[in-house]
């Protein structure tokens, strides 16, 4: 049956196809072809961005060009802050796929426990840092483990080789290498580098074969040379720390200034902090007290009163001032000398640090003369060292002075200064009358100062300051073997709330060698509480050690060779009250 019907069909003539069928199929095919052509033309000429991008991404790459932050170096080029590349290890916890052994290995490489690592990876975050800023070698060892989902990224880390010794000046950087404190903050523009990028062609092995364009040229940060001398900074820090601890003081500061150029060679503060590991450091410890805190200077200000009087011709170095009976009453107030003397010459007023004598000399001057002298020597104005947040101190206008205020200001009360201001003001005595600009940046050569005093006045005061550190003065302990030294002690009651307390600020400012001053050292010890509190006993010994070591370090020739120092007997030293 079936065979028969097949044969029948074969025999039957082919049914005629409808005549329109072929053109329709042809038309449809042509239409589809046109669509394809149209689409390709569209992609080629009009909507070509996507494919272009896809194409170029197969062979061209944009490469980030890192620019590292400039170094901060001391005046001899010793690094104080330096950036080196490090890596941070991070992961997407959801994507991490590793055997427990691998994770244990990872924990060992990252110097953590498997438990702590597992906890990090369990946290619900999309992204976790497994280790921040590890050395490149560690990152390499992590990469060798080939754990899926664990990646690393390049970063820079800032290191501070001198650590806590210079942290107040240098400051530190925060995340992304941006300055947060100190010089790192103010000189961000100079130090900070701007990363660049360029587009290149790569071959199939991933090697760069051609530069296409430089999108942004990288701008590496520039190095910055400070005026600091790392050797002196170390001396200053070591001695200050020892003194603060020995005197059980609250805080302390020490500044070394180059007497010729005004450059700050060392600036140490205590308490301090380590900028390399500053987690949970109190803000308190980060303050650069020598520049951002003020105190009443006490007797260290007397030389300026005397200089004003000498300059105006009101007194001469040998003019006799009667200081008996050791007190002076002005209106309702009385000022005292701790150790009453009789008639003293102006020289002896400085040597023995007589408050009454200084007050009497001050009262013989018009307030404006005295104000002018203090203002000319830089008090009441920020010292402009290039440090953030430095304070100006307080020097009230002369018009508002009452006589008692003028008298107390003569010995450094009723006026507030910071330690750098005080040290810098002494450049007028160390340089024959010129006030040098204080700076934290390395100066090219000798710096011209602003003339403030006549050379003869400066030399006369310098001579008085030499008397003050010799036997019979207030600070024989400030003497330095083989060098002639000039300086002045200060012991000020601290002002708290409305009145003066029995807490003290002991200070000493001096310079050496007196014949040709090279260095000025200012020491301030805040609230010494181990018994002694006079500047001559607390601050002067620090001055002596620092000055002696610093002059030796700098190779300054001695101007008084031989054994010129009469070792002071502490009972014989003359003490002062302010």
């Amino acid at each position: 049956m079936t065979g028969g019907s097949a044969a029948l069909k074969r025999a039957a003539p082919a049914p005629a196809l409808p005549r329109f069928r072929a053109p329709i199929v042809f038309g449809i095919l042509l239409l589809l072809f046109l669509v394809l052509v149209g689409r390709s033309l569209y992609l080629q000429w009009i909507d070509n961005a996507f494919l272009q991008e896809q194409g170029s991404s197969r062979y061209s790459r944009e490469i980030e060009l890192p620019a590292h932050r400039g170094r901060i170096v001391d005046r001899a080029g010793e690094p104080l802050a330096i950036s080196t590349p490090v890596k941070s290890i991070w992961a997407f916890p959801g994507q991490v796929d590793a055997t427990p052994e691998k994770l244990a290995q990872l924990a060992r490489v990252l110097e953590t426990t498997p438990k702590a690592l597992a906890k990090k990876l369990e946290d619900g975050n999309d992204f976790v840092f497994l280790a921040k800023q590890v050395p490149p070698e560690v990152a390499e060892r992590v990469a060798v483990l080939k754990i899926k989902g664990v990646h690393d990224q390049n970063e820079y880390r800032r290191f501070y080789p001198v650590g806590e010794m210079a942290s107040h000046i240098v400051g530190f950087t925060g995340d992304h290498d941006v300055g947060q404190e100190g010089i790192e903050l103010t000189q961000q523009e100079w130090l900070g580098g701007k990363p660049g990028s360029r587009r290149v062609l790569i071959n199939r092995r991933g090697e760069v074969v051609e530069d296409v364009e430089s999108i942004r040229a990288p701008q590496p940060g520039r190095d910055l040379a400070l005026s600091i001398d790392a050797r002196l900074q170390y001396l200053a820090f070591r001695e200050l720390k020892a003194a603060v601890e020995a005197n059980r003081a609250k805080a302390g500061g020490l500044v070394i200034i180059d007497a010729q150029t005004g450059e700050i060679l060392a600036l140490a503060n205590w308490p301090t902090y380590n900028p390399n590991a500053r987690n949970r450091v109190a803000r308190e410890k980060m303050r650069n007290r020598a520049l951002t805190d003020v105190f009443e200077p006490g007797s260290t200000l007397k030389p300026f009163t005397i200089a004003a009087a000498l300059e105006s011709g009101a007194v001469r170095p040998d003019t006799v001032i009667q200081t008996a009976p050791g007190s002076l009453t002005i209106g309702p107030n009385t000022i005292h000398d701790a150790h009453p003397s009789g008639a003293l010459t102006v020289e002896q007023v400085i040597q023995k640090s007589s408050n009454v004598g200084a007050a009497k000399i001050a009262l013989s001057l018009p307030p404006s003369t005295m104000w002018q002298m203090l203002s000319d020597t830089g008090f009441g104005a920020a010292p402009n060292t290039g440090f953030p947040g430095e304070v100006a101190g307080r020097l009230r206008p002369a018009k508002t002075w009452k006589p008692i205020e003028q008298a107390t200001m003569a010995y450094g009360h009723g006026i507030s200064v910071n330690l750098v201001q005080l040290a810098r003001a002494y450049t007028v005595f160390a340089s024959e009358g010129q006030l040098k600009p204080a700076t934290l940046f390395k100066a090219g050569s000798s710096v011209a100062g602003r003339p403030v005093l006549k050379a003869e006045t400066a030399l006369a005061v310098r001579h008085m300051l030499e008397l003050a550190v010799q036997p019979g003065g207030t600070a024989p302990k400030a003497q330095v073997p083989s060098y002639r030294v000039a300086g002045k002690t200060g012991t000020a009651h601290k002002l708290e709330g409305r009145g003066y307390t029995n807490k003290y600020v002991s200070s000493f400012v001096g310079f050496a060698p007196a014949s040709a001053p090279r260095l000025i050292v200012a020491v301030m010890i805040d609230e010494p509480s181990a018994g002694a509190h006079y500047g001559g006993e607390v601050a002067a010994p620090v001055f002596s050690t620092v000055m002696g070591s610093a002059l030796r370090t700098l190779g300054t020739p001695p101007d008084a060779p031989g054994d010129n120092v009469i070792l002071p007997d502490s009972a014989a030293a003359i003490r002062e009250e302010t």
Binding site: P79, T84, S482, P558, P561, G562
Partner: protein
């Protein structure tokens, strides 16, 4: 006319070949330059690390400790210092 065309064709082929070679040369040199640049960067990094290391070893605290403890050095007292007068150094 045909000869001229043939000559031009020959010149064209030569130019094309030399372009290919010089291009290849340029890429090879560039890869080399790139490698040297990477090395430079690596050296810079190493220099920074060495500087850091050097300043760590030369820390005054460490130098002083070694001088005092290992080498038993001390600062001479004023009586033991002899100053030789001479021309003052500038």
């Amino acid at each position: 006319m045909f000869r001229l065309n043939l000559m031009l064709l020959g010149a064209l082929v030569l130019c094309a070949l030399s372009l290919v070679t010089s291009r290849h040369q340029a890429r090879k040199l560039f890869v080399e330059l790139e490698r040297e640049t990477t090395r430079t960067r690596a050296f810079e990094t190493e220099f920074g690390q060495l500087q850091l290391e050097q300043s760590t070893w030369a820390m005054p605290v460490r130098v002083e400790k070694i001088a005092r403890e290992n080498l038993k050095m001390q600062i001479p007292g004023p009586r033991r210092i002899e100053v030789v007068p001479g021309e003052a150094p500038k």
